[in-house]
């Protein structure tokens, strides 16, 4: 009995060791880490052009300084292009640390599902990779531009996207979220768009709003400011700024409000055979900067500022929804998904017709802004003459 048990035990042990997927000892320096890559499409040849930014080291004395190099490779499929890179490099490329993928407009217009498949299927590539759409002609151009601070282009793009939390001017979408949106009913994808800009004499990469999709095809772009209100609707704003004119008459003096906490609740309602979306935005802000010397500690002034801010945020949000409905007719807000989640039976009947309904969907926007504080000061800097007046 004891022998049988021992045999069984060693059998399980050995088969476990041999059958696991980890039989691959590979020293880290034998790999080239891919930091990010761009995919372009060559229409004439019907092939993909893959440009990978690969970690490289500059040996300066005893120290190895990380820099990067671009490797281009063509192939009939994305994976073919990846494998073809072995024609060029001695080291195997390692894709587990690639955190950005850039698609060209061409690919996006044709549909991004075919190129996303590899990222989704492959064991090495991460599904939390950031997906970016190039606003330029090709995607590889973005990787060719200079960096501002770091030495690695893709890493910098990744960090720009990660710091959108305190700016809220681009949707940050990871590959798995994109795939969920593409597969989901009643929602369309929206991806951050990036283009080339010249900054302080350097040609570099900048975030330029949002790329809008219908199904998996690119249909247009909206700019950064519009993106912010789009993010308000889908409840993706963390921090950010709201710029408010002092009054409709005085467009010169601006008050900057910093968002500390904001929450958007969207609920579909069904009246008289019509679907209405109720959007409730609750925002907590603080006065961060003032170009005027108005005393906002006073209740009257403060409630006026609150009302103005609420009104302008409300109209901006309404505008962007209207714009999307009229110009692009793609449900990037996921209203359809909300209907299907809240009223499944209704969705069964109106779902097939949603594209048509979305265009004419009524939207109620309620904004509630509460002003929390005015940072470290209660009074603005005032000229003496004004003080005397008061």
């Amino acid at each position: 009995m004891k022998h049988v048990r021992r045999m069984l035990f060693s059998l399980i042990l050995i088969s476990n060791m041999l059958l696991c997927g980890c039989w691959n000892y590979h020293d880290i320096e034998k790999y080239s880490l891919v930091l990010g890559f761009a995919i372009d499409r060559n229409e004439q040849e019907n092939s993909y052009l893959l440009t990978a930014e690969v970690l490289d080291f500059e040996m300066s004395g005893k120290e190895a300084k990380p820099t990067s190099k671009l490797i281009e490779s063509k192939g009939n499929s994305v994976f073919d292009a990846i494998r073809n890179m072995l024609k060029l490099t001695e080291k195997r490329l390692y894709w587990g640390h690639a955190d950005t993928v850039i698609f060209s407009q061409d690919i996006a217009k044709e549909g991004i599902i075919p190129v996303l498949d590899l990222i989704f299927r492959d064991a090495e590539m991460r599904e939390e990779m950031h997906v970016v759409i190039s606003k330029e002609k090709t995607a590889k151009e973005l990787l060719e531009q200079q960096t501002m601070i770091s030495t690695l282009r893709s890493t910098e793009i990744d960090r720009i996207l990660n710091s959108q939390g305190s700016l809220a001017k681009a949707p940050v979408v990871e590959a798995y979220e994109l795939i969920n949106e593409l597969e989901g009913e009643g929602i369309s994808a929206a991806l951050p768009a990036m283009g080339i800009a010249t900054n302080a004499g350097k040609k570099t990469v900048e975030l330029m709003g949002t790329a809008l999709f219908k199904s998996d095809k690119l249909i247009g772009f909206i700019d950064s400011e519009e993106t912010k209100y789009f993010l308000f609707v889908i409840n993706k704003v963390n921090r950010g700024l709201l710029i408010q004119n002092e009054s409709p008459e005085n467009q010169m003096n601006k008050i900057t409000l910093e968002i500390f906490k904001t929450k958007t609740k969207t609920k579909p309602e069904y009246y008289d055979g019509k679907v209405v979306m109720d959007i409730d935005i609750k925002t907590e802000v603080a006065i961060a900067e003032m170009e005027t010397s108005m005393d906002y500690i006073k209740d009257v002034n403060r409630s006026k500022l609150k009302k103005d801010a609420e009104a302008s945020l409300k109209s901006s949000v309404k505008n962007i929804i209207k714009k999307i409905q009229d110009n692009y007719d793609t449900d990037i807000f996921g209203f359809g998904m909300l209907v299907s989640a809240n009223m499944p039976s209704l969705w069964d009947s109106i779902g097939p017709d949603w594209d048509h309904l979305f265009k004419k969907l009524d939207v109620n926007v309620n904004v509630d802004i509460s002003i929390r504080n005015s940072a470290l000061v209660s009074k603005s800097i005032r000229k003496e003459s004004i003080r005397k007046e008061n």
């Binding site: 042990l13 476990n16 060791m17 696991c20 980890c22 039989w23 691959n24 000892y25 590979h26 020293d27 880290i28 320096e29 790999y31 880490l33 930091l35 970690l55 080291f57 040996m59 005893k62 120290e63 190895a64 300084k65 990380p66 390692y94 587990g96 640390h97 955190d99 090495e124 991460r126 890493t155």
Partner: protein, 513 residues
């Protein structure tokens, strides 16, 4: 697992010792007896024979035997030879030996015997044997006197707060040190003799009513089974009596401090003090005792809990760090954060050896340094530091023999290993096995190693007590004194399994709450 390899004692194999009583018999003739003793101790120049007779009655002849250097000359001169030589009151009519024992000799410990074996052994132990004309019996007078080391703090178990005394090489001094801590007639001290040639005296100490009788019986049985020529240190005995003799883990505790021994006896453990060594043994020994220090009970419980958790953490670190590191950089590169992956990759450019080979080599180098440090004379210590730190560390990295992260990992491994000096042997073995596993199949292999280790630890027993005592039954009472120590006022019970009957150890309420 390791029990399996224990061989059964084959019959016919035993250590032989000459039994003097077969060849020699004591007689009534002093002259014959002297010749006999000289024959037994022939070619031993330290064996001293001193004959004398009474001033008045020349018939009262005597002779003492002792071994030079092991006796107190003053006692022999003043209390044995002098009284016999000058005494006038020796009653010759009756038994001379009785009269001398009762009226003449000034000594607190005299034994009367006619067994030649006993006489020989007593002389060898440092007693003085008095032979008298016309008597077949011998008086064994205790006049031992030799130099012992002074009581000092043990080098290996230093404390900041706590008693500074440590055991010495003398069994009797050690027993007095223990006795002074536990002033109760319940403290039982039983002698045993182990070692056919060394005849080492061993003392089993326990507190009657707290110690578990079954463990005591088992200990006695195992000690009786020892059949060896000599015992130089308690380590030999502990290896001979421990459970799972091939396991790298100790199942017999050891300490050089009387306060630790006394505390363990109070918990129901049984101590064994061996003559000739300052290291006393305690049984049963459970795993958590590796992480306990006597100071933990004397200082603030928050601090001692932190120290204990640190020791446990160090143990985990020292066995798993090289394995996990190698697994991460050779199998699971995706698990390393990208910036770290970049800097690791940068550090490892042009390093000639694979990561696992580098790790093995550096670990071995560290062990070499440690071993040299223990064995070499202290005045060479500086040279070792220079060689270790500068040449092997810095220069090896600069010469690209190895990478800086690997040196850091191995140094951290080594340092955390030093936090647990008593676990040293086990740790080295486990660490290398884990590293080997990890180098084959990454973290998966490492986990196999961990499972194997836990299996082994949970399988171990020390004198019938589960080795992972406190982890097997998650009873809050038993967990009080494990990887944390609760305040004394809450530690009311002795550990289960060890002290079976008498479990309440502390009923004090603590100060004002």
């Amino acid at each position: 697992m390791f029990n399996r390899f224990k061989k059964k004692k084959s019959k016919g194999h035993e250590v032989k010792q000459k039994d003097v009583s077969i060849d020699y018999m004591l007689t009534n003739s002093l002259q014959r007896n002297i010749e006999l003793m000289k024959e037994i101790f022939n070619s031993d120049d330290t064996f001293i024979t001193r004959q004398f007779e009474n001033m008045q009655n020349k018939n009262i002849k005597g002779c003492i035997f002792f071994i030079e250097g092991m006796v107190n000359n003053e006692i022999i001169n003043e209390n044995i030879i002098k009284p016999i030589v000058i005494s006038t009151s020796i009653n010759v009519k009756n038994n001379v030996i009785d009269s001398i024992l009762q009226h003449v000799i000034f000594s607190n410990s005299v034994e009367r015997t006619s067994e030649i074996n006993k006489v020989v052994e007593s002389i060898a132990r440092g007693d003085t044997a008095l032979f008298l004309e016309g008597s077949g019996e011998v008086l064994i007078i205790s006049a031992k006197g030799w130099q012992t080391r002074a009581i000092s703090e043990p080098e290996g178990e230093k404390v900041i707060r706590g008693p500074r005394e440590g055991f010495t090489e003398s069994l009797l001094i050690n027993l007095t040190l223990l006795r002074r801590k536990l002033i109760t007639p319940d403290l039982k001290l039983n002698y045993k003799v182990i070692g056919v040639k060394s005849r080492t005296r061993v003392c089993i100490c326990y507190i009657n009513g707290i110690a578990n009788d079954k463990i005591l019986k088992e200990l006695n049985k195992r000690l009786d089974n020892i059949d060896i020529d000599g015992i130089m240190d308690s380590g030999t005995i502990s290896e001979l009596i421990k459970d799972s003799p091939l396991s790298p883990f100790k199942t017999v505790g050891s300490t050089e401090r009387p306060d630790i021994l006394a505390a363990k006896l109070l918990e129901g453990r049984i101590g064994v003090i061996v003559d000739g060594t300052p290291v006393a043994m305690t049984v049963p020994f459970v795993f958590i005792e590796y992480f306990q220090a006597n100071e933990d009970y004397y200082i603030n419980f928050y601090f001692s809990s932190i120290s204990r958790l640190l020791r446990v953490f160090c143990f985990m670190l020292t066995i798993s760090l090289p394995a996990v590191f190698v697994a991460l950089i050779t199998f699971h590169q995706e698990m390393v954060p990208t910036p770290l992956a970049i800097s690791l990759s940068a550090a490892r450019q042009i390093v000639p050896f694979p990561a696992v080979v580098g790790a093995f080599l550096l670990l071995i180098v560290f062990e070499i340094l440690r071993e040299t440090g223990t064995r070499m004379p202290t005045n060479l210590g500086q040279a070792l530091g220079i060689v270790g730190a500068v040449i092997l560390g810095q220069a090896a990295v600069e010469a690209k023999f190895t990478s800086a992260p690997m040196v850091i990992i191995v140094a951290l491994t080594g340092i955390s290993g030093l936090a647990l000096p008593r676990l040293k042997g086990a740790v080295i073995v486990i660490r290398l096995i884990f590293l080997l596993f990890a180098s084959f199949i990454g973290l998966y292999g490492f986990m196999f190693g961990v499972i194997g280790l836990l299996n082994h630890l949970f399988e171990l027993r020390s004198f019938g007590v589960p080795y992972m005592l406190s982890l097997m039954n998650l009873d809050p009472q038993d967990l009080q004194d494990t990887s944390v120590r609760v305040p004394w006022m809450y530690m009311k019970y002795r550990p289960k399994f060890i002290a079976l009957n008498n479990r309440i150890r502390n009923a004090s309420e603590g100060g004002k709450k």
